[in-house]
Symmetry: C2
DNA sequence: TGTACATCAGTGAACGCGCGTTCACTGATGTAC
DNA sequence: TGTACATCAGTGAACGCGCGTTCACTGATGTAC
C-alpha cells in the first residue's frame, strides 16, 4: 500500500530528475550541479539530500533511466532498419542522454551494476533482429566471437549474428556520435542520408 | 633571430603542455586544472599566465596539437588499411587525446578556427587513400554528396570516394570510441580483431 | 668592461565564485490511543 | 473526534575546498650607452 507521503516523495524525485535532465541537456554531465537543480526545482540545495544521498547517486539514477528508456525505445523493433531508426530517434530527441550512456566516460564515475542487465536487454534486441537477416560474408572475427559469446547469454544465435550485431552497434554509434558531437556541421551534407546509407550497408 | 629568452619561453610552454597532457590522460578535459598543472610543473598558479592567457587558450593549444599530431600520424599512409591502423595506434597511444578531438564536446568550449585546416588535411589523406580503391556499391548518398562536396576542397575525386572516406571515418570512429570508452570491456572479445574485420569490410 | 635602465619571469596574497555536503532546527503531516 | 507523539520535508548557516584570475611586488636577465 502506498502512503501519500510515498506518493509525494516519488513525485518530487521525478521532478528533480526532470530538472536534472533539463540541465544535462544544456551543460553536459560534468557540469551537472545539485545546487542549480535544487534552485530550479524551487528548493534549497540541502533539501535534495532527502531524495538522493549524493550527486553520484543522482547521476546513477539518470544513467539507469537513460538505459531503460533506450531499451524500451528499441524493444518494439521488428527488424534491423527499425532498430537503427529507433536508436537514432532516441538519440536525436536528447543528445546528452545518448552521450551520457555512450559518450566519453566521466572520469571518476563508475556505472551502476544493474545497467549491465539493461544493456544485455538492448543487445538481445539487436541479436533478435539480426538473426532474421542473412549472415553476409563470414570474417575471421566470427571464429573469435564464437569463443567469446558469453555476453549473448543463452540466445541460440550463430557467431555471424553476434558479429553483425556488434557491427550494427559500432556503425550506428559511429555516425550518431559524430553527428551529435557536431563534427559534420561544417560539411554541409545531411547526416540523415549518411545514416540511411550506413543502415542500408548493414543489410547486405 | 631567437633570443635566449624566447628559447626559454618555448621550453617552459612545452613543459606546461607536457604536464597538461599528463593530467588530461588521467582526469579528462573537463577536470583539467591550471593550478594542478602549475604545481606539477613546479611553479605557482599565476605564473602560468605568463605563458597562456587563460585556461581556454591552453586547451585550444592542446586541441590544435592533437589535431596536428593526428594529421602527422596519418600522413604517411599509403592505403586505406595503413590509414586505419595509423589512426588506431594514435588513438590507443593516448585515449584522452583522441577523445579531446572526437569525443563528447566540452559544453562551453569552441574549437579554434584553424583546426578546420588541419581537419581538412586529415580528410585529404582519407580521400587520397580511397581514390586508389574501387568504389563499391553506389548509394543514394553519393548523389547528395556530389551537391555538398565543398569540404573536399579542390581534390578531383568522385562522389563515391567522398562517400567512402566519410564511411571510413564513421566506422573507424565507431569501433575506436566504444573501445576507448570501455564499452567492450565486459564482453571478452578482442577489439583489435573487431577493428580488423571492420577495416576489411571497408575494402569490399 | 662597467654602469643605468628596461624587460620580464615568477611569487604570495587576495577576490569572488560555486561546488558537494553536514548540521541543528522549524513546522507540517501522519499515526496511535 | 480529539489529543500526544513521532516522523519527516525543507530551511539557513556553515565548512572546507578548489577553481580561474588579478594585482602589486621582487629579483633576475637582457639591452643600450
Amino acid at each position: 500500500m502506498e502512503t501519500s507521503r510515498e506518493r509525494y516523495r516519488a513525485q518530487v524525485r521525478a521532478e528533480i530528475k526532470r530538472h536534472a535532465w533539463e540541465q544535462l541537456a544544456t551543460t553536459g554531465v560534468s557540469a551537472l550541479s545539485l545546487n542549480a537543480i535544487a534552485k530550479n526545482v524551487g528548493m534549497s540545495g540541502p533539501a535534495l539530500y532527502r531524495y538522493f544521498p549524493s550527486r553520484d547517486d543522482l547521476i546513477t539514477d539518470l544513467v539507469r533511466d537513460a538505459y531503460r528508456s533506450l531499451a524500451d525505445a528499441v524493444q518494439a523493433a521488428a527488424n534491423v532498419t527499425e532498430a537503427a531508426y529507433a536508436i537514432r530517434e532516441w538519440a536525436l530527441a536528447d543528445p546528452q542522454r545518448y552521450l551520457l550512456v555512450y559518450g566519453t566516460p566521466v572520469p571518476g564515475y563508475r556505472a551502476p551494476g544493474d545497467t549491465t542487465e539493461i544493456s544485455n536487454e538492448i543487445m538481445a534486441v539487436l541479436l533478435r533482429v539480426h538473426a532474421a537477416e542473412p549472415d553476409g560474408r563470414p570474417t575471421a572475427f566470427d571464429a573469435h566471437l564464437e569463443e567469446h559469446r558469453g555476453w549473448a547469454g543463452v540466445m541460440p544465435v550463430t557467431a555471424a549474428v553476434l558479429r553483425r550485431a556488434v557491427t550494427f552497434w559500432t556503425r550506428v554509434h559511429g555516425v550518431l556520435s559524430l553527428e551529435l558531437a557536431g563534427h559534420f556541421a561544417g560539411m554541409g551534407f545531411d547526416p540523415a542520408l549518411l545514416f540511411a546509407a550506413e543502415v542500408d550497408g548493414l543489410l547486405r
